[in-house]
């Protein structure tokens, strides 16, 4: 097996991975950097983020307000030391991106413009029309081309971490193009491989979002944290789950039920605000968890609109006018017309909540370090946690930057800490075991299970039992079913025996990742007997700060469900309180 010797390996080349790579290259041009990704960097799912990135820049805003919005929005599950670091670094990172050429939308005076987002007391979302993630990703990718020390390994799938002497010392990866395994020897590894929303059938997530990075760390012994918190974005196109950014509501779009009622006022987010005059932290500018939950209740009450794609509510943007929609929300308009045949300039758009983001992920501290020495993580695959039980819209793009860079700086500290020499033979043995695992999977043709079949059962299980509102019995069903699917996974057949660009093999590996992650989600959810943020239990309807102001930690077991442990939330200045999104109360 070919060995690639590097100083720091990064798995994933989306927003967080690219930001980390650039930070490494800037810190020390002699560092050898291997940037490994299963897709070309610009295909990463950061490109699909629309609305924008939060960072305090305007004089009417303050770090304290961003802190409060984030901690309260996360239902007091965020670690407050991490949030403090995050909000402090946020404006610097967004300005850095501006200096790298990101085409942020502007005010007439040439300063960067901001727009309102849900759950924000003051508008602070930097945006590039409604293609913010796309521009961030391409700006980072193009900037990364300046640095010759960033060596890219595009279309390499990371299969296993190499852990010896109690620390992470590299990984194995499959070169998709050739089907050859490579061993990457590294003094530190940063995982920045995104979330795993594809374990659900109805999601805004692209096909690449299969939890590979999470599973990679999890299998190597690093715990997954708070996996039960899965964010439903309230406004997805009903036929295919395409995201319509929160910016639609930030710019003034409103939500109606079938009777034309602005129903959010019935769920603690009123009073109703006049159309065209959105009020921050009120009605349509409430947080995502509350809006998605309100939809669920409207559906139960029979207040939703029937469409060929299921029950919907209506997002009305007509009053914004064609000019503003084309200037601020051009992609949204294009997506609605192209994929649903409806023009938001002329008619309300049917929408429904859609799985969008995983608050949970690889357990890291404020330095982006996992408990496994030498292993760092950033972005959606990580859980620092700044997002707690519910991420505030537009914090995730900023998180990629802040913690992508932080992971890089921490990795450098680790590399410079005087590490003992690695034992090549021990690493080689592990690499060979990884290679044997992959070739055994590839050579299996007698199994009774199909990849598509198991994937479908997994998705249906998650959709039916692990949705916006959950119950103990449904979650128990889900746990049993996912455990069963993990067993049956051992019995899949691979039909494609070609080494070159074998997507059958890729999908098998991705399914394995998703099943591992799904089990952490379901078991964590079953055991969290309270309602907090995006985790709502019909059998435990209250938040339980007495017992559960804690993070869930799930530890991998190859054949059994994960072992759970709990970790206290870090509180520095804000004690748990009431989440108030009612403009009336102030």
């Amino acid at each position: 097996m070919e060995i690639v010797k590097t100083d720091i390996a990064i798995v994933g080349a989306g927003g967080a991975g690219l930001r980390a790579a650039i930070a490494l290259a800037e810190a020390d041009q002699k560092l050898r950097i291997a940037l490994i990704s299963k897709v070309y960097p610009m295909r990463s799912h950061t490109c699909a983020a629309e609305g924008g990135a939060a960072g305090v820049i305007k004089s009417d805003d303050s770090l304290a307000l961003h802190f409060n919005d984030t901690v309260g929005g996360g239902d007091w599950l965020p670690d407050q030391d991490a949030v403090e670091y995050f909000i402090n670094e946020a404006p610097k990172e967004l300005t850095q991106l501006e200096h790298w050429g990101c085409p942020w939308s502007r005010e007439p005076d040439g300063s960067v413009a901001v727009r309102p987002f849900g759950g924000m007391k003051i508008k602070r979302t930097w945006f590039a029309a409604d293609k913010s993630g796309f521009h961030i990703l391409h700006t980072l990718f193009q900037t990364s081309l300046k640095y010759p020390s960033i060596q890219r390994f595009d279309e390499y799938y990371a299969t296993d971490l190499l852990v010896d002497d109690g620390r992470c010392q590299g990984l194995t990866a499959l070169e998709i193009r050739s089907g050859q395994m490579k061993q990457f020897q590294a003094k530190a590894v940063i995982i920045a491989a995104g979330g795993g929303g594809r374990m659900f059938p109805f999601t805004t997530n692209g096909a690449v979002k299969t939890g590979d990075g999470m599973a990679l760390a999890y299998r190597a012994g690093a715990p997954l944290k708070d996996m039960e918190f899965v964010q439903y974005h309230p406004t997805g196109l009903p036929n295919n789950g395409i995201l319509l950014t929160e910016g639609c509501r930030g710019e003034g779009g409103v939500l109606f039920n079938k009777d034309g009622r602005r129903y959010l006022q019935d769920y603690g987010m009123g009073p109703e605000t006049p159309i065209g005059q959105p009020v921050l932290k009120t009605m349509e500018l409430g947080p995502r968890d509350r809006l998605s939950q309100a939809f669920w209740h409207e559906q139960k009450k029979g207040n939703t609109v029937s469409t060929p794609w299921g029950d919907c509510v209506l997002l009305d943007m007509r009053h914004l006018g064609e000019k503003k929609i084309d200037e601020r929300l051009p992609l949204v308009r294009d997506l609605c017309i192209s994929y649903l045949g409806k023009d938001p300039v002329k008619e309300p758009i049917p929408i429904r909540p859609v799985v969008h983001y995983m608050m949970g992920g690889i357990h890291t501290n404020v330095k982006a370090a996992t408990p496994l020495p030498g292993l760092f993580a950033a972005g959606e695959c990580a859980c620092v946690s700044i997002n707690g039980a519910n991420r505030l819209g537009s914090n995730s793009l900023t998180e990629l930057l802040v913690f992508g860079k932080r992971a890089a700086l921490s990795a450098i500290e680790h590399v410079q800490s005087g590490l003992p020499a690695s034992k090549d033979a021990a690493l080689a043995t592990q690499a060979q075991a990884s290679e044997a695992r992959i070739s055994a999977l590839m050579n299996k043709s007698d199994g009774a299970e199909t990849i598509a079949g198991l994937r479908k059962e997994m998705m249906e299980t998650m959709e039916t039992n692990v949705g916006i509102y959950r119950t103990g019995s449904e979650l128990a069903t889900a746990c049993d079913k996912i455990a069963e699917l993990r067993q049956r996974y051992a019995n899949i057949a691979l039909h494609d025996k070609t080494h070159v660009y074998n997507t059958d093999l890729m999908q098998a590996l991705e399914l394995g990742s998703m099943l591992d992650c799904a089990e952490a989600v379901t078991v964590g959810a079953r055991e969290r007997k309270e309602s907090r943020g995006a985790h709502q239990r019909l059998d435990f309807t209250e938040r339980d700060d007495q017992n559960l102001l804690k993070h869930t930690l799930a530890y991998y077991h190859p054949t059994e469900p994960p072992r759970l442990d709990y970790l206290d939330v870090v509180i520095t200045q804000s004690q748990p309180g009431v989440r108030d999104y009612s403009g009336a109360k102030k």
Partner: protein, 247 residues
């Protein structure tokens, strides 16, 4: 949501077993609202797990799923079944070597993109603490359109010149250079000009305009190339006829 049986004729090529590409036909029950990518996914999940192609976002922004659909370069996720008859032919993106099935080798494009220095070379240095560079909406508008390129390479598949002269930098790479040249914060035009005004640069373009016709994001690379030609010509005149005028 009506259903229609489509014959999907897909180019197959397995470099380990095939001496040359062949077509394979699949009968796919398609919903009328589907895109060609949905039909390919149906094949992959239900009929033939060995079919290889790239895709991810399914919303025309990641740029992965460019392919030839009935001979035209398209994003498979934005090629609507209802716009086609019951027979649809799918080939890999033209002008690129085939890796396998619908997967092409794209290194050439990536290298060309990198060669034009597609990043901001600031006019002046400014520390982060001094805040953002000011840029008015009008200044932003000057280059905004060229930032919208998703690197899907449809323009390379459509470009007759790229087919004939593989060294040609091509529409997307030159447009990206133009994007930075037009950015009010940038001072790197001279550096990029060495690459894009060269023989394999903008002068290879025969201005057929096919690139702009197929661009799914309306970047108008042909327009960018034309502007680069004009600007390069002015450079030439300044240099040769009016050497006392600085560029």
């Amino acid at each position: 949501m009506s259903e229609r049986q489509i014959q999907l004729e897909v180019l197959r090529y397995n470099p380990e077993t095939d001496s040359e590409p062949r077509y394979q036909s699949y009968s796919v029950p398609c919903l009328n609202e589907w895109v060609v990518l949905d039909a390919l996914n149906y094949v992959k999940d239900n009929l033939d797990p060995t079919l290889s192609y790239r895709w991810s976002c399914h919303m025309a922004v990641c740029g992965s799923c460019g392919m030839m659909i009935n001979g035209e370069p398209k994003l498979a996720c934005k090629a609507f079944i209802h716009e086609y008859t019951d027979q649809i032919r799918v080939d890999p993106l033209a002008n690129f070597p085939i890796e396998r099935d619908l997967v092409t080798v794209v290194e050439d494009f990536i290298a060309k993109l990198a060669s034009v220095k597609p990043y901001l070379i600031p006019k002046k240095d400014q520390p982060i603490s001094a805040g953002e560079f000011k840029q008015t909406p009008a200044e932003l508008k000057k280059f905004k359109q060229y930032t919208l390129c998703i690197n899907c390479m449809l323009c390379y598949a459509a470009c007759p010149q790229y087919g004939l002269v593989p060294e040609f930098l091509g529409p997307a790479a030159i447009s990206m250079a133009h994007r930075y040249n037009q950015d009010s914060r940038d001072g790197g035009r001279d550096e990029r000009q060495e690459v894009i005004a060269s023989e394999v640069g903008v002068w290879e373009c025969s201005f057929v305009g096919a690139c702009s016709e197929v661009c799914p994001k309306h970047v108008d690379p042909a327009g960018a190339l034309q502007q680069v030609k004009v600007a390069s010509t002015i450079d030439w005149y300044k240099e040769h006829l009016m050497p006392w005028v600085k560029k």
